[in-house]
């Protein structure tokens, strides 16, 4: 599934995205800095040959590429600390990297910066069933955690589709979700502790295996910060007992409106499904052609609703959802009778991205969130835009929490199509914000949505975020050029514009 995404744009090198200008003095010191790195991380831990650097030139957003100054693969937290200290002293930029599956370019290298890859942080340190937690190094893959604890009947809830490859550190940095986060929450709701190295080399531990850490919720702040605040080296995750049963419904609808309406009614009835996913006709057709999950033929929209828990609860809720679906106008209602059938319903959804990859040379995967009630309206407007831009679009999304993944289909070999697709994507995200939603639900801002931040936040909102960056990394060496459209100097951000001696609010009542 991943390989398809990675193969998408192999012959493309151009970077049109504006990144911070490479500093000539850093480029000039490359050799001596690599020697410093080799002293810290001996042996094969420093990669510097142009050929080997190629493997790191992009992440899952393959349209943008850049070879880094060097790649360093530290083996322990102390080495990370020393690398960051050396970078601070020499003024070298750092791009942290897990598995490189980010879809927003968060791990896109900089020409004058090193990539700090966490590949060697691959140990599961402890599983503590009494406290229902696992302590793992940040380079451990998401799925490995669940696989390791499965024999004991436990799992780790957030399940991004990339879970065979992506790392838990990357999940924390992006606050990743998955199809089950409607009921079980995102990464931020499923972690209890972090070990992190700050830009000055300090190692801090946040939280632990207790609930609700003391002091400011720095762990919450770092989760979703896209590698701009520190390098995560260890994560303590909550693990959950696997529900007794899970069953799914496969529903076909004559229109996006009726499907959207069904979603609203399920939630409105006080039901929280474990997963509630929607595909429009182009996406469902592509999935059907790809792996034949048996999706209803004539449906304009397909919903998969999964319920989990004890058997009596699941059976009870399945009945309720069936009734709601019929009322909402479903033309086809199927309920999984066994595990095999349930997995078949899901197979098409899980393969939706590669399936769409087969019907188009290239695609952009968008990721906005909207209030659920606006689903049908937003889909209609996306369809209009699709005509305007002359580009096809297939919609796959986490309907239960309003998280859209429109896939914009284009062909990079047709001059102008990539640019056109980018413009289309930007319009979709602006629409999400316009209806009360946000630019990104789970893939992060990275470089991809960076220049749209102003659509959602005003100058003061952004400055309050950037001052937090200054608190962690005053010289701005950690992953610059991501998330924020304008790089301000910390000194300038810190300045207070005050007017002393004003009359103190005479119109307000005092006591």
């Amino acid at each position: 599934m991943l390989s398809r995404v990675f193969r998408l744009a192999e012959n493309r090198y151009s970077i049109r995205m504006q990144m911070p200008k490479p500093e000539p003095e850093i480029l000039a010191q490359r050799e001596s800095f690599i020697r410093i790195l080799r002293k810290i991380v001996p042996g094969e831990g420093v990669i510097s040959s142009q050929e080997e650097l190629r493997a790191y030139e992009c992440d899952g957003l393959t349209a943008y590429r850049q070879r880094p100054l060097a790649v360093v693969l530290p083996a322990d937290t102390n080495q990370v600390s020393e690398v960051l200290r050396a970078c601070s002293e020499c003024g070298v930029k750092i791009v942290p990297r897990g598995a490189g599956t980010s879809l927003s370019g968060g791990a896109l290298p900089l020409e004058d910066g090193i990539v700090l890859a966490l590949g060697k942080f691959n140990r599961i340190l402890e599983i503590d069933y009494d406290n229902r937690i696992a302590v793992v190094q940040s380079g451990v893959t998401n799925l490995r955690i669940s696989d390791t604890i499965a024999p004991q009947g436990f799992y780790y809830a957030p399940d991004p589709s990339s879970q065979i490859a992506c790392t838990i550190g990357g999940n924390v940095a992006e606050n990743s979700g998955g199809v089950h986060c409607l009921k079980y929450g995102l990464t931020t709701n499923n972690i209890l502790g972090l070990e992190m190295v700050l830009m000055n080399g300090n190692i801090v531990r946040l939280g632990g295996r207790h609930l609700d850490a003391e002091g400011y919720d720095i762990m919450g702040l770092v989760t979703g910060s896209e590698g701009l605040l520190g390098v995560i080296t260890e994560v303590t995750v909550r693990i959950l007992p696997r529900p007794e049963t899970a069953r799914a419904l496969l529903l076909g609808f004559p229109s996006n409106e009726s499907a959207g309406n069904c979603v609203a009614r399920i939630i409105g009835a006080g039901i929280t499904p474990a997963g509630l996913e929607m595909m429009d006709k182009p996406a469902a057709d592509a999935a059907e052609a790809f792996c034949h999950p048996g999706y209803p033929d004539n449906a304009q929209a397909v919903l998969i609703v999964e319920l989990d828990g004890v058997k009596a609860e699941v059976d009870h809720l399945i009945g309720e959802v069936e009734d709601i679906a019929v009322e909402a106008g479903a033309t086809s209602v199927r309920t999984s009778g066994n595990e095999e059938e349930r997995l078949r319903f899901w197979a098409g959804r899980k393969a939706a991205f590669p399936a769409v990859g087969r019907i188009s040379p290239d695609y952009f995967c968008m990721d906005g969130t909207i209030p659920r009630g606006r689903l049908a309206e937003v889909l209609a407007r996306i369809a209009t835009m699709s005509n305007q831009f002359g580009l096809r679009v297939a919609n796959v999304f986490h309907a239960g929490d309003g998280n859209l993944h429109p896939l914009i289909l284009y062909d990079a070999n047709v001059p102008g199509e990539l640019e056109n697709a980018e413009k289309f994507g930007a319009e979709v995200l602006k629409l999400c914000v316009e209806v009360g939603g946000v630019l990104t639900g789970e893939h992060g801002v990275g470089v991809e949505k960076r220049d749209l931040m102003g659509v959602m936040f005003d100058e003061d909102d952004l400055k309050h975020q950037q001052r937090v960056k200054c608190a962690f990394d005053p010289a701005g060496r950690l992953n610059p050029g991501k998330v924020f459209p304008v790089l301000h100097r910390c000194a300038e951000l810190g300045r207070m514009h005050v007017h002393r001696g004003q009359v103190p609010f005479p119109h307000l009542p005092h006591f």
């Binding site: 609930l211 400011y216 004890v310 969130t369 004003q502």
Partner: protein
């Protein structure tokens, strides 16, 4: 001391701009029920009180979107009533600590709950306040209005400032509106009670149950003689959900290890509600205003070891929530340090942190109320404080005496 009343976010911004310019300290107050929690805010002189209680009311409530926005002075009771009319509620079960500080019940505001990140028994399974704050509008110590988050659950656009503001005790910004995620209330609630287990047995029972498939939404152990007139310990597990589901889970719980064969009582909706209300509001320790009261957050399985360590040295009373992970512990008033050294040593050994929730003024003045942090972390916290409030005018020293 001077009190300044405000009616709008613009008022708040205006007051804070003035205070920032003149370097005047402000103490932010909502319902005022938790003024006793944390260090007393102190500036160079006595701080001005910025009273946010008039900034109240629900600004937006869309039940079908599971979202509500309210101004900070809205009482938790008013908010919960509005949600109840639509069969919804706040998942984090906000406690009312008013009576712990000799304040009336029902005055606690949503701004205060978010500011202190206070969650009740369901925190165990449903997350804390910080997990349900979707968006905030605020005025920072620079006197600038800003917003963060949004009104949808899935949102990774920019830093999650909501997290660091929730639980910051008003030291970073004044909150002018909160947007919260709400959840449907269950059709049925039942609580299974087992009596006469000792601490270790009780917590072990809870741990086994929490690792099973019966989806317990709250788990507490109350040792004998803590609750008035209760001579036996109580180990309580709550089940919530659709009727048929609760029925099956009750069965499941009662017929499997380790409850099989033990004598159980089942409390239904009303009685169950009262038990958990008393647990979350710490009613057992509210009456004796003189005793020193601590709240410890520890790895759940270590709860009994922590209390054993402490009770070897002092005469303490306690009970457990969150499956053993939250300990409410009362020590006699005559300990000059309020038990701070002993309790913090115990917590350091097993992991976690301890907060001095209530104690004599001279104890609060001389010992840190919140768990002291290692220097790398407290430095970082100070930098964060300065990023939002460079002149240190918002609730100065409330969380730590240097920040």
């Amino acid at each position: 001391m001077d009190t300044i009343n405000v009616n709008s976010a613009e008022d708040v911004a205006e007051v804070i701009r003035w205070a920032a310019a003149d370097e005047e300290a402000l103490e932010l107050v909502g319902g005022g029920t938790k003024r006793g929690l944390g260090h007393i805010a102190t500036g160079d002189g006595a701080p001005h009180q910025l009273n946010l209680s008039a900034l109240s009311g629900i600004a937006l409530y869309e039940p079908e979107e599971l979202v509500v926005s309210a101004r900070p002075g809205t009482t938790v009771i008013a908010l919960e009533q509005a949600l109840a009319t639509e069969g919804q509620r706040l998942a984090f079960e906000p406690p009312d600590w008013g009576p712990l500080y000799g304040q009336p019940i029902g005055a606690s505001t949503i701004g205060g709950i978010v500011g202190c990140n206070l969650s009740g028994p369901r925190r165990l399974i449903a997350g804390a306040v910080r997990d349900h704050v979707l968006g905030l509008s605020c005025v920072s110590g620079r006197g600038e209005e800003f917003k963060c988050g949004g009104r949808v659950v899935k949102n990774v656009t920019g830093y999650d400032l909501c997290k660091v503001l929730t639980g910051s005790y008003g030291t970073l910004a004044a909150i002018t509106e909160v947007t919260l995620r709400v959840v449907p209330a269950p059709a049925r609630t039942s609580t299974v009670m087992v009596s006469d287990l000792d601490d270790a047995q009780g917590i072990a029972v809870l741990a086994t149950a929490l690792s099973g498939k019966s989806e317990i939404s709250a788990a507490a152990h109350i040792p004998a003689d803590v609750e008035n007139g209760c001579e036996q310990s109580l180990t309580a597990m709550r089940l919530e959900g659709p009727g048929p589901s609760v029925e099956e889970r009750l069965n499941m719980l009662g017929t499997s290890h380790p409850l099989e064969g033990l004598k159980m009582t089942i409390l239904d909706d009303e009685e169950s509600g009262q038990f958990w209300r008393e647990t979350r509001n710490v009613v057992a320790f509210a009456n004796n205003q003189n005793c020193t009261l601590w709240r410890l957050s520890v790895p759940p399985s270590q709860g009994p070891a922590v209390t054993a360590r402490i009770s070897q040295k002092v005469n303490a009373r306690w009970f457990y929530d969150w499956g053993g992970g939250l300990i409410w512990l009362e020590v006699p008033e005559d300990l000059s340090d309020g038990g701070a050294v002993l309790i913090r040593d115990a917590v350091a050994e097993f992991g976690g942190h301890a907060t001095l929730v209530r104690g004599a003024e001279q104890i609060k003045a001389n010992f840190p109320i919140f768990q002291p942090q290692p220097s790398a972390l407290s430095n970082l916290s100070n930098h964060i404080k300065k990023a939002f409030d460079p002149n240190g005018i918002l609730n100065p020293n409330r969380m730590a005496r240097d920040g």
